[in-house]
């Protein structure tokens, strides 16, 4: 049984039919990437999984359990965390308070402290800036904070929405290395990206989304070789 199984979901914004029957699955331990152009429905897919946007049809199962009836804050306590597009750090809260918010649902003090240490190990910058208000961080630091904050919930499934957006190339590489490291430490990852090249280099498998529909799904290696993917998303002729 896959950890996450999305089956034929339809999601609307008023009368905009943003997802037209999207299906995908993520196995425990994998990095799966969802690539596609602007407006394809990547963010909407993640918002549907995390409960921020209700689907009108289809099913989303986590370890076999249907998530449709749960509110977003209830889905978090099922060990699914999301790093939203554009980071969504709480600009007026300090770095430490942002990380505390990540651990909002947790009661195990010891575990939270251990995870905080882990986050500071992955992102030493956050430790230096712990007292600083998050709105004053650079874009890269805010992305680190957004990921660190999601890790504070100790998720088994991490949803990442365009973590490379707006970052300098050197930072992009380090963010993707971090994603791999987090995965190797046992977190399953569903990664949404427009930077298809980087996403396909770290992922096990991938799906290609076009105007609300999955048009391709394969191993990351095969997708990299696929002519259509090369043309449309890797900028090759």
């Amino acid at each position: 049984m896959p950890m996450l199984e999305v089956h034929n979901i339809h999601t609307y914004y008023d009368n905009i039919h943003a997802l037209k029957g999207v299906s995908l699955s993520v196995e425990q331990g994998e990095i799966v990437t969802l690539i596609g152009g602007n407006g394809a429905g990547k963010t909407t897919t993640l918002r549907s999984i995390s409960g921020l946007r209700k689907t009108s049809r289809g099913s989303i199962r986590l370890n076999g359990e249907e998530l449709g009836a749960y509110k977003p804050h209830e889905i978090v306590s099922k060990s699914v965390s999301m790093v939203p597009e554009g980071r969504g750090v709480f600009a007026r809260l300090s770095v430490a308070e942002n990380l505390d918010m990540g651990a909002y649902i947790r009661r195990d003090r010891k575990g939270v402290e251990a995870d905080l240490e882990r986050v500071f190990e992955i992102f030493p910058r956050l430790k230096e800036r712990r007292k600083q208000v998050a709105g004053t961080l650079s874009g890269g630091e805010q992305q680190m904070l957004a990921i660190g904050r999601a890790l504070m919930a100790h998720p088994t499934l991490l949803l990442l929405d365009e973590p490379s957006m707006g970052l300098a190339p050197i930072l992009v590489e380090s963010i993707f290395e971090t994603i791999q490291q987090i995965n190797q430490e046992g977190t399953t990852i569903l990664l949404v990206e427009q930077n298809a090249l980087m996403a396909l280099s770290v992922a096990n498998r991938g799906y290609v989304l076009q105007t609300g529909e999955i048009v391709l799904s394969d191993t990351a290696a095969n997708l990299k070789q696929n002519e259509m993917v090369q043309k449309a998303y890797l900028g090759m002729e």
């Binding site: 995390s50 409960g51 921020l52 509110k71 977003p72 804050h73 978090v76 306590s77 965390s81 999301m82 939203p84 969504g88 709480f90 600009a91 007026r92 809260l93 308070e97 505390d100 918010m101 990540g102 909002y104 649902i105 904050r149 919930a153």
Partner: protein, 368 residues
């Protein structure tokens, strides 16, 4: 065309600023002249009178601060003005009133005083009960107000919940009138808190009274304000409130029950307004269905003055307004009956010239 328009714009902005500057300069000039007039040229008030004004202002200001926090907390989280907040205060004032009345009906005769009632025999318990009941009924009212009048309109345009708030305010006033009658009632205090009694101390050539009711009001307000500040800055709920104020979907992604936090915000605001209502009754002595209206608008002024959404701003705005009301009339050379006009004059001036308040509005990403 474009250049022409741009030039016109620059001109109109600078004209506006000139007017603003002239009015400001005239106003400050007038105040300085009046200060000189009443302090040096023709000192009609001695230091004892000024002291009396200041005490009255601080006491009233502490009540305004309590109410103002409610406007600012709700605005910070929902970007709406809860116009029914004054009525929430009225409900709390009635809560305390009925506790005092009920306790006064329990006879506890002693040899010395066969007429003694529980209210005066046990003033500490009585006052405590009045605050607990007053704060609870206001908190409950706030909770249901949000649930019934605002929650269904959460995704409507911003003007819609505002209209609903005005409707709720009128509804609650009328409900209060139906339930409790239209007459003004005297707030019956425990004997030790008889209005007008207090500590007397000499200032200048006169004596100044610090009334017991005023001291109680000020000290309790101060404690509640510190408690609120600690709650918002230091606790898990406070952090969640600040997160929800900044970004609701992301707060939900952290596992925060956003609706629950909004409910609790109304409960906290309501409890503070309820405390203010009981204080109003104990210190000023009157309660009726309309009692929340004027303090409500004044506290709203205080919140706007401090920059709505800004908690320390609302506290300072409350104290500032209380003091201005007390010493404003003599300084401006107006009758004391015009003190309400001063408060509303300030509201109008702030809204025209500096709608973000003196301390500036807290900026949020999510200004839908």
């Amino acid at each position: 065309m474009g250049i022409h328009n741009a030039v016109k714009n620059i001109k109109s902005i600078s004209a506006y600023q000139v007017i603003q500057f002239v009015i400001g300069a005239l106003f400050i000039g007038y105040i300085l002249w009046r200060l000189n007039e009443i302090l040096r040229v023709n000192p009609i008030y001695g230091p004892d009178t000024w002291m009396r004004f200041a005490i009255a202002g601080l006491i009233l200001g502490s009540v305004y601060a309590l109410i103002a926090i409610g406007y600012t907390l709700v605005y910070g989280i929902l970007f709406m003005i809860n116009f029914a907040h004054g009525e929430i205060m009225m409900i709390g004032a009635f809560g305390g009133y009925f506790v005092f009345e009920a306790l006064n009906a329990i006879p506890t005769p002693t040899a010395a005083d066969p007429e003694l009632t529980f209210l005066s025999a046990q003033p500490v318990i009585s006052v405590l009960l009045a605050f607990i009941v007053g704060m609870s009924v206001s908190a409950l009212s706030g909770y249901f107000l949000e649930k019934i009048a605002y929650r269904p309109l959460r995704s409507a345009p911003r003007l819609v919940p505002l209209i609903s708030a005005i409707g709720a305010s009128i509804f609650l006033q009328n409900a209060g009138q139906l339930l409790f009658g239209a007459q003004r009632r005297d707030y019956l205090n425990p004997e030790v808190l008889t209005r007008g009694n207090g500590w007397e101390f000499p200032v200048g050539e006169g004596t100044v009274i610090l009334p017991y009711t005023g001291a109680l009001t000020f000290v309790l307000s101060f404690l509640i304000l510190i408690g609120l500040f600690t709650l918002v800055q230091r606790t898990r709920l406070g952090r969640a409130m600040r997160a929800v104020a900044e970004n609701k979907p992301v707060a939900a992604l952290m596992g925060v029950d956003v609706d629950g936090v909004i409910s609790r915000t109304f409960i906290i605001s309501g409890a503070m307004a309820g405390a203010a209502g009981v204080m109003w009754g104990i210190h000023l002595g009157l309660v009726y269905y309309f009692v929340g209206f004027i303090p409500g608008i004044k506290a709203f002024t205080a919140a706007v003055l401090g920059g709505i959404g800004n908690i320390p701003g609302a506290m300072l705005g409350g104290f500032f307004l209380g003091i201005v009301e007390a010493i404003g009339p003599p300084i401006l050379g107006l009758s004391f009956q015009l003190k309400d006009v001063i408060a509303f004059g300030i509201l109008v001036l702030v809204l025209i010239f500096r709608p973000t308040g003196i301390m500036g509005e807290v900026l949020t990403e999510e200004k839908v």
